[in-house]
Symmetry: C2
Subunit: 632 residues, 2 copies
């Protein structure tokens, strides 16, 4: 090891503990009962009259009070055994860490090195290594069994018909089955329609799947900057992002300590970690794109493959012949990777080395099962440039590269924009599906207007929900600081929650068979004035509770069910009951829209009497409470 | 006057002054040069190389430094002259104000009365009064001329072809013309496809138009609550909401001082004010819906017609025969007006008096040109209940009532939900257009999922953008406090900005011929590192600037164009110039996607040399700045 380290630097402190009224539970899939697939169970209040709700849980052991978190040691490396037991890999002495891997940082500015060095694994020639290769061979891996259980959200079987009938979405050709089996996972991966980003060296991973026939996923970007953040902050940002629901995290660090930062993140990350290797390669040649070489880039890929990065953004579609297509754009080239490669191509007047060496890149990534995230270096940076020839020319090349990577046995997803007005989103999605053979699409937003700096989580959340509905498999978040500065911890949370909303809205609209269960549970809690259940079933119980407490009189908000303001807590239910009783008096309760004159006079008279008995104050008080808690 | 007043209470203080780098300008339409139609001109920095940008301005005189604001006196009543000069109205002694109009408030709890009493106008029989009646008669009113100029956003003529070509949206049958003429406004109103809510007694009004062939509008709800706010706060909330872009404001006050609050708001409101008269009627019978009578309700309508309310939400579609349709809903009836009427119908086992007296309501509202906003009392309160039979049965009745109101000469818009998953939004919109003869639709959100209390401005902003695109004419905002408590001033701003985003995204997607001008101006500013222009062109310059300042080193953010961080400010433009020069060297600059091998070798070689001369550091520094200002 030749890594500069400063042992006096602190070990990162991270946020731990369960979310409000939640506990970690584990599913044990029939196909592999030794697996412990985590879910979060939201515990409802006593008397809720319905079961607790299990929800998808990205947060890892950090929310499990029975686990002692030691960031210095990293998470347990359980998955290494899965990889070893299926064979075809070797442990070897990894690449030597070099000073330039950390931007040649001086010892006083060096971060503390991670406590341990794990020898890397790599695939042996002639053996299956990637999830794609196993899937094609008809082999169901533990990763596949794990994600199948995860996707079912605690269901052990298909929903009853009445519940499944909720799933009346428009899927635009996606085909989310009523229940996810390991075999379905395998078939989707074999088809290239889904990926499990899972470097064989990321032993801390809790596997997850990205594909349009599964739950829509979200990514959170983090990463240090020379000026404003540290290793400590970045590890906490990762833990914080997954606490609120980030399915994967990209480490976009630049500058010094880049290798060490990534090591800390990976060893503590239960979610897939993605990177853009060209960023680190650029640091290794002092930030001069012209000096980039294939050898330098390849060396960086090996470094990151050995660390356990699960997917690489590679801008191999920025071809020399496309660069002039950006000439008349309003915002030119806005992708950092894209402009680095454009500069290299122009300066050398050569085709991109990422394109010319694509076969070698595939061979290398296959050995570690690092997934491709084919980058959109020519993505539009403004509404004006959306869906233009430059963007689509690159997308066509990404389709060509997808097929090459598949032939090599690599898993692939495709990155997308960016800035796209609503009416061009579906066109973009459909073209991606067509050009890239249904490989998963992974988009940044898109932002549906350029006019709201400071609110781009919202401009892009609109586009993200729509493209998720149309078939996008993973949505890369945008925070309120987009275009303005570096996101802090609060911005990360706002970005993640906004994108959880977008992803869930997409799942509902696609007709995911279990998505609406949470909406319904929350709506019932809302209608029955079970305030704490309403908070806890939401994406951000803390904020919901604090907003509620902010407005209500102090005496009142200490009473769990608002009895002090609304009288009997069940009064709103009484209104419904009243309507239900009334409906039952009709001759034919199923008929609709018909005049009732002369058909149910007796029933109405009875109801009128009953209503008067019931006491009208119940009604009124319920109304007052509702009103006081509704936007005026 | 028999109105309790407390003269010791303060006069409301409101926010005044222009937005950053903005000035009020006025268009003078050719058809009526005496009209002064306000616009806000965003002043760009020196050297921007492009003209200042005029934008739609809802903020009234409050942002005009040349006007002295006196809330106690109210805004100038210019529009009274327009109404008088076209005749057909009489001034008369209005209805006597009664103690119950203010909830029988005691003198010590009474708000200060507004300073002046203006005798109301009403229409005379046999004369045209409403904008609809004038439009049908082929008469173009000043209001129509005014809104035509307003909708053109400062354009005096159709855009040049190159700019108009930007408008490549999908309009779903809407037909926004390239340029809005007064005659077009008249024809749309005559057709019932647009309304100008403009009570003849709201003389302070700056008229605006609501219809799907015009800019998408937004509404902000305000209103006092007995516990948490005052007249002062509500007047400021109105001024604050229009400062950020609310096109209309609904006063949903309940409890005491309801008449006085409304008077203060109206006399200071340059935007249309809407109300839900049943709320005040309910206060007049001590909150007991069963005691409501047609006479009491009618008296309340007269009271508010005389004050100058521009549109009334009337839940006349909640018919007795539909109530049982809500029996099996997850969230029953969630509209306050809807549940009041449902209760009344069940208690009396009678058809709703709003339905049985609808003709009389029309006759009354016509006399003052109060527009209908036909309320959706059976709107869904959860994803589970969206687009159900109860909702659609009511919508069909609203269609029937629309035709009655039109026959009576009244302007009409239709309220819509609520909670609707994405895949059901267009179905809802299309049904509204069909059932209601294209009368403008006015929806609350819709919220696209129920699972994010605390973030319902976002869950609903997604739905609002989509339904705006599909044809909804006005979007009623939802604030972060929805379902949890009363919105404060910050919540009002967040709600308004979120909905301005939704409305603008809708305009872009529909292909509004001028909408993209602002996106493009902002994108150019962004790409050229004109930071202050970027902030000022945005919807919320203050927040954009503060986010920017938060992250950047203090020395740097005092330099206007970031020169201290990025070297020459034009360096990012240099990248684009480089690409442009390169493109110019190609034999055929228009060809796309072809290999360039052997076709432009000389050009490439020249460019390579030129690039080396240019100095690579320019490039790099620009990249660093971009990176430092991008989400990591």
């Amino acid at each position: 090891m030749n890594i500069r380290s400063n042992p006096e630097k602190t070990v990162p402190a991270v946020t731990t503990g369960p979310l409000p009224s939640s506990r970690k539970i584990f599913a044990s899939p029939d196909a592999a009962p030794d697996l412990r697939v985590p879910l979060r169970e939201i515990i409802l209040s006593e008397g809720a009259g319905e079961p607790n709700l299990p929800v998808y849980d990205t947060s890892g052991p950090y929310t499990d009070p029975s686990v002692t978190i030691d960031v210095n040691a990293g998470l347990p490396r359980n998955r290494k055994q899965w990889v070893l037991e299926r064979g075809g890999v070797e442990e070897y002495e990894g690449r030597q860490i070099k000073p330039e891997d950390n931007g040649s940082v001086s010892t006083d500015k060096a971060a503390r090195a991670f406590s341990a060095y794990h020898k890397p694994l790599r695939g042996l020639d002639g053996h299956k290594i990637t999830q794609l290769e196993f899937a094609r061979a008809g082999i169901i891996t533990k990763e596949m069994i794990y994600v199948a259980a995860r996707e079912n959200l605690g269901r052990k079987q298909q929903l009853e018909r009445a519940e499944a009938a909720l799933a009346d979405g428009e899927s635009f050709g996606a085909a989310v089955p009523a229940f996810i089996t390991p075999e379905f996972v395998r078939s989707e991966i074999a088809r290239g329609r889904a990926i499990i980003p899972s470097n064989i060296n990321h032993s801390e991973l809790e596997p997850m799947i990205i594909g349009r026939n599964f739950l829509t996923k979200i990514n959170a970007n983090i990463g240090n900057s020379a000026v404003t953040s540290s290793v400590e902050e970045e590890v906490e940002k990762m833990v914080w992002a997954i606490r609120w629901g980030a399915d994967t995290v990209m480490d976009l660090s630049t500058g010094r300590n880049i290798h060490t930062t990534r090591e800390w993140i990976l060893r503590n990350a239960p979610v897939p970690i993605g990177t853009v290797p060209i960023y680190q390669a650029l640091e290794k040649c002092n930030g001069d794109p012209v000096k980039l070489t294939w050898e330098l880039y390849k060396d960086t890929l090996i470094e990151q493959c050995e660390q356990g990065v699960d997917y690489f953004t590679i801008h191999a579609g920025v071809r020399l012949q496309y660069i002039h297509l950006t000439a008349n754009r309003v915002t030119g080239i806005v992708s950092r990777g894209g402009s680095i490669m454009a500069k290299w191509c122009l300066a050398h007047h050569k085709e991109s080395f990422l394109y010319t060496h694509f076969d070698e890149i595939c061979d290398l990534m296959r050995k570690y099962d690092v997934s491709f995230s084919l980058g959109d270096g020519l993505r539009p940076g403004s509404i004006a440039d959306a869906n233009d020839r430059a963007q689509f020319a690159e997308l066509e090349t990404l389709g060509e590269l997808t097929k090459i990577a598949w032939d090599k046995g690599c898993q692939v997803m495709i990155e997308g924009p960016g800035h796209v007005p609503m009416h061009k989103i579906k066109i973009n999605m459909d073209k991606q599906l067509k050009e890239c053979g249904e490989a998963p699409f992974y988009t940044l937003g898109p932002l549906t207007t350029d006019i709201a700096p400071g609110y781009d989580h919202i401009t892009s959340g609109i586009g993200a929900a729509m493209i998720g509905w149309f078939g996008c498999a993973m949505l890369c978040y945008v925070t309120p600081k987009e275009h303005l500065g570096l996101p802090d911890r609060n911005d990360v949370k706002t970005g993640v929650i906004t994108y959880k909303i977008a992803a869930h809205a997409a799942d509902l609209a696609k007709g995911h068979p279990a998505a609406q269960l949470r909406d319904d549970a929350l709506s019932r809690a809302r209608f029955e004035f079970r305030w704490t259940d309403q908070f806890n079933l939401g994406l951000d119980p803390d904020t919901a509770k604090s907003f509620h407490d902010e407005t209500l009189p102090k005496e009142a908000h200490k009473v769990a069910h608002f009895c002090s303001m609304c009288g009997p807590k069940f009064c709103s239910m009484k209104i419904t009951q009243d309507v239900r009783d009334y409906a039952a008096t009709l001759n034919d309760p199923n008929r609709v829209g018909m005049s009732m004159a002369g058909t149910a006079e007796d029933g109405m008279a009875r109801m009128s009497a009953k209503f008067k008995e019931m006491g009208e104050s119940l009604y009124l008080d319920a109304e007052k409470v509702k009103e006081s808690n509704r936007v005026l």
